[in-house]
Amino acid sequence: MTHHVTPPRGYVLIYVALIVLTVATVSIAFLELPEWAHLWIGLAIATAKATLVVLFFMHVWYSTRLTWVVALSGLLWLTILLVYVLTDYLSRGWVGVPGR
């Protein structure tokens, strides 16, 4: 078996990045920014952290294409769930609904 072996230095580097991003997201949350900025900065940093964990701690970066497909399919279904729910709820105020 020839699996990719990530050296400890690589894992520690990812870990340091995760810690820095955590400190950053908590610090930024206390700044006086618009509400939407807080939401999107928080989500962007969380997505960056999750990507680091999935790609390197969970070894997707070094995995077979089939693993990529399964991991991305999970993300695809989640996107479908969130996007279709939000197209309904976010657009309700845009047009007058008869009887409402």
Binding site: T22, A71, L81
Partner: protein, 274 residues
Amino acid sequence: LAASATQGHVAHHFEDAGQQHEVATLGMWVFLATELMVFGGLFAGYTVYRVSYPEAFARASQSLNVGYGAVNTLVLLTSSLTMALGVWAVQTNRRRPLTWFLCATVALGTAFLVVKGFEYYGDYRDGLMPFLPGNFDPDEWKPHTEPAGPDWEPTQRKKAPASSSQPRKRGAFEDPENYDPGTQRMPIETRVAFPDQVKLFFSFYYVMTGLHALHLIIGITWLGILTLMAGRGRFNAEYYFPVEVGGLYWHFVDVVWIFLLPLLYLVGTAHWHH
């Protein structure tokens, strides 16, 4: 087949250890994709209600303790590091470090749950558990001298009580005489103005963190078994897919928490100051 006959750890339906490893990790990824949908449903529900009641969610989030959430994030990220290093140890045939890295991961996971327990207790003490009778509702904090009359209407809750000097009950076990509204993490005005919306936030908070904690308990049990197996020298560079697969589950639980931190704890930290 002759090769697999010499390797006792390869199940008979696999060609070799490599195929077995690939199948096991792929199976775990399929399972994690379904797990993503379990949590995804909760995240979708959270999103809908946060869009509907932004101010109530921000005020409710303010009353959570950001310190607990941040510290627990660091604890969980560190546990992911020790888990990843455990995989490195077994890949390079370092059996004793593997056992210690797994041990550390279990310990850090347990530490997370202990911190969460303290946090839940604080939430209880400060009257932030709406599902417990008399723990959250300002109406129920009033001394039971005047019973609710027949003309009582839910709309009365919109009005803030005239005198906040009246002794109120804090939690089920608290002494009403010693109640001080100033020590409340969530001011009474918020509870009165957004009673149901705030309860909705806390429902998401307890269900999402609770389901996450349940996953952590399962992960701790799983890694505990792996630790015992590693201590007996069951794993090596050829046969370590149980460690790899356990690690995948552990990191997934970490990823869920990475999103819970900004969505539950960091919503109203800069806005709607009391």
